[in-house]
């Protein structure tokens, strides 16, 4: 099979190649192979391409099945050859890879990108389909690794920048001297950690959107200073107040280290900060001590009033997280009200 590469603009590509999506004809026979456009994906690419710094290094792959040929080299041994395409009956080529990029390019106003095109001539439709499957069947990077890389890069789509801030704080908490969570967060590059990075990122994202960190959202410097400080102070308090359920425990033998406990306690942090104004480990510990004797992190049972749950009966699913959070906040609220009455 012959493979070649050249440079073209989106307008030129649309004259020689089309996107043929998978579908059925009248007899139920399969035609084409591409999936439909993914609007959000295309918009992200277009947003990126509109930036002055944008580059598009990976090529659009186009296949030809007839109606295109390479002319013999002009002189023996020449590296480049002329590609001749017959477009009298419309574009004869198929876009095999890069349809979303190509669509984004086509919708771009005011900027004419030159992109690399990798082309190949194939003999049969089967060969074409095979190439399509092979090219498009790659495995994406593990999410956790992508998240870990995020803080290193700026200028990302908004979908990633929320996660990026959370990843930035998680990294700081895992490696900064004096952090309550130093070395404890399990990341791709720290496999011996016990608290999952994605769980802690959830706590941080919740707090960024609706909790204590809302004040600092949007300002990385402030987040890295005050934000990391606040979270670290809080988990210092958690470690102290619930030492028996924390020290040398893993998610398997304590729900305190487990996704359910971490996320629920994240809401407790937002509550104590929002309602009692707590910011330091002592202030947080004062609030957390109201929970003493009412928890079952690593043995016994939770008494949720309407039902009882064994300590390890709690799973990291939204319903259990909400149940546990409501319970913890209820205990704190009741105790705070009792204190207020006594005072």
């Amino acid at each position: 099979m012959t493979v070649f590469t050249f440079v073209a603009k989106a307008g030129d590509i649309s004259r020689i190649a089309r996107i043929e999506r998978a579908g059925r004809d009248g007899e139920g026979l399969l035609t084409g192979f591409q999936r439909p456009q993914i609007a959000a994906h295309i918009r992200e690419i277009r947003d990126y391409l509109e930036k002055p710094s944008a580059i598009l290094p990976n090529p659009i792959v186009v296949a030809f099945l007839g109606r295109a040929h390479l002319e013999p080299p002009a002189r023996p041994g020449a590296a480049s050859r002329r590609l001749v395409i017959d477009v009298t009956d419309g574009p004869p080529g198929w876009i095999v890879d890069g349809q979303q990029r190509f669509t984004a390019l086509a919708g771009l106003h005011g900027r004419d990108f030159e992109v690399l095109v990798s082309g190949f001539l194939c003999d049969t439709e089967e060969e074409l389909q095979r190439q399509f499957i092979l090219i498009n069947n790659t495995r994406p990077l593990p999410k956790a690794l992508v998240y870990e890389l995020l803080p290193q890069v700026g200028d990302l789509p908004p979908r990633m920048s929320n996660r990026s801030q959370a990843a930035l704080l998680t990294e700081a908490l895992n490696y900064r001297t004096g952090s309550a969570l130093k070395g404890l967060i399990k990341q791709q590059t720290n496999p011996k950690g016990v608290i999952r990075d994605t769980v802690l990122q959830r706590v941080i994202m919740n707090s960024l959107s609706d909790g204590a960190l809302r004040l600092y959202a949007g300002d990385d410097a402030l987040l890295l200073d005050k934000g990391v400080g606040l979270i670290s102070e809080y988990w210092h308090a958690v470690r102290t107040v619930f030492a028996a359920d924390w020290d040398n425990k893993t998610p398997k033998d304590s729900r305190l280290i487990h996704g359910t406990g971490i996320v629920a306690l994240g809401y407790v942090m937002d509550y104590l900060n929002g309602v009692t104004g707590a910011e330091t480990r002592d202030e947080f510990a004062k609030g957390l001590r109201l929970l003493r004797g009412k928890t079952a992190w690593s043995d016994g049972e939770w008494d949720f009033g309407s039902e009882r749950r064994r300590w390890n009966g709690l799973q990291n699913v939204p319903a259990d997280v909400r149940q546990l959070t409501f319970y913890l906040l209820q205990v704190i609220k009741t105790e705070l009200a009792a204190q207020a009455r006594a005072a």
């Binding site: 999506r21 456009q37 994202m205 609706d210 909400r322 959070t325």
Partner: protein, 427 residues
């Protein structure tokens, strides 16, 4: 008569970019979005109703995200909705359980105690007892007695009254700033009147009538008449989920103190035809039909066609683009009405292509649709409304497309309805 808006996170992004069809740069959900009372110059309602079913709780997810739910319970309804008493003096902040969300359960998932807790956390001024919907409704003269109705109906009736009795006590602990409201459910005017009397005897002086959503206006009138006969005049009445908002006079006649509805907002995108409201010089509500130009690559119907391979997305995008440009050019005076309509109808034809229908039927449908759209475009109603939606969005508010346009049109409808109600209220 007070109009309470039943909210379910009905916000818009004020920085939404209509030409690029996307949110403003750097927009953060909820923080940068605005509620109708924030977006318009004046709040288009006299209070807000928030349902527990929408907010969600430990065992039942609502429409709020988990983090929003926690914030709502921590900060209270007024802060969450940015609806402070200081800026909206005398406004009601009303809660209910959202009985429709648990209509299929044998009993409400909420108790009187935890409902009072919800109202306390939310800082509500008014809150309904936890009721259970009854869907039966007897015709006049065919009233069944409590022994004649199915067990399920009887259970729902008794649960509603029992909860109200418990809730009156639980609610009284919330202090003087809170008014508990007893909810009436029943299968007939007589059973509802009995329920109302029982609630008044428990001590309630503000009652909410539930289960009227499926009722016709003459049925609602009979219910209201029965209430007034059964109750001392000091007892105030609220009508829950009042959808027949063209029939305000019925409420006025029977001295209804307040009602809640989402209709003006919802009809902007749930009603196929009457989705942009206006008030005629004679003081009636009338309607225009917004022009549908769905997003070619995001609309579910079109996505399905693309999956089957029956729609070429590149072609659809060109038609979509031409339709948008056509309407905008017409609005700006750069195209004739016919040019604008041609572009809209070309896209319409691609969207509504259906092999089953005969060509002549298709042509009839297209002609009808063209006429409806011509009425909207000819009258240019967006130029005759002074609300912020129409001032800023102009013809975009008349395009049926994406939540930001559709909800803006809903907010315009709220403005029109509230104006209509205020004028109506003056003798």
């Amino acid at each position: 008569m007070r109009f309470i808006f039943a909210d379910s996170l009905d916000t818009i992004d004020p920085g939404y970019d209509f030409l690029a069809d996307r949110n403003g740069a750097g927009r953060t959900i909820h923080r940068d979005d605005q509620y109708p009372h924030e977006f318009l110059d004046d709040a288009p309602y006299d209070g807000i109703l928030v349902s527990r079913g929408i907010v969600g709780d430990a065992r039942h997810p609502g429409k709020y995200s988990e983090a929003q739910l926690m914030r709502f319970r921590r900060e209270g309804a007024r802060r969450f909705l940015r609806y402070p008493e200081t800026r909206f003096p005398g406004s009601m902040m009303m809660g209910d359980c959202g009985a429709f969300t648990y209509r299929n359960l044998p009993a409400p998932p909420y108790s009187a105690e935890d409902t009072a807790e919800f109202y306390a956390d939310g800082g509500f001024t008014h809150g309904c007892s936890p009721d259970h919907l009854i869907f039966d409704f007897d015709e006049p003269g065919a009233d069944r007695s409590i022994t004649d109705v199915p067990e399920d109906v009887r259970n729902r009736y008794e649960i509603t009254l029992q909860n109200a009795a418990e809730f009156y006590h639980a609610g009284s602990r919330l202090g003087g700033g809170f008014t508990p409201m007893g909810v009436i459910q029943g299968w007939s005017t007589a059973s509802m009147a009995d329920a109302a009397r029982s609630l008044a005897d428990m001590g309630y002086d503000y009652l909410a009538i539930g289960g009227t959503v499926p009722l016709k206006i003459d049925q609602i009138r009979r219910v209201l008449a029965a209430m007034r006969n059964a109750l001392p005049s000091r007892v105030r009445l609220h009508l829950l989920g009042f959808g027949k908002i063209e029939e305000l006079s019925a409420l006025e006649e029977f001295g209804v103190t307040s009602f809640d509805t989402t209709s003006p907002l919802l009809r902007a995108f749930k009603d196929a035809k009457k989705n942009y409201w206006m008030r005629t010089p004679s003081g009636d509500l009338s309607y225009y039909t917004a022009i549908r130009i769905p997003q070619a690559t995001e609309n579910n119907k079109l996505k399905q066609k693309a999956l089957e391979g029956s729609l070429n997305q590149e072609d659809a995008r060109l038609l979509e683009d031409a339709a948008l440009k056509g309407v905008r050019a017409y609005a700006a005076g750069g195209a004739t009405l016919e040019q604008g309509l041609d572009a809209v109808m070309d896209y319409w034809a691609a969207l509504n292509w259906d092999e089953e229908v005969s060509p002549s039927r298709r042509a009839d449908a297209a002609a009808k649709q063209r006429k409806v759209y011509a009425d909207t475009l000819t009258d240019r109603p967006w130029e005759h409304c002074g609300c912020r939606v129409c001032r800023e969005a102009g013809v975009e508010a008349l395009i049926f497309r994406t939540s930001n346009r559709n909800k803006r049109r809903g907010i315009h409808n709220l403005h029109v309805f509230h104006t209509h109600l205020s004028e109506f209220r003056q003798p």
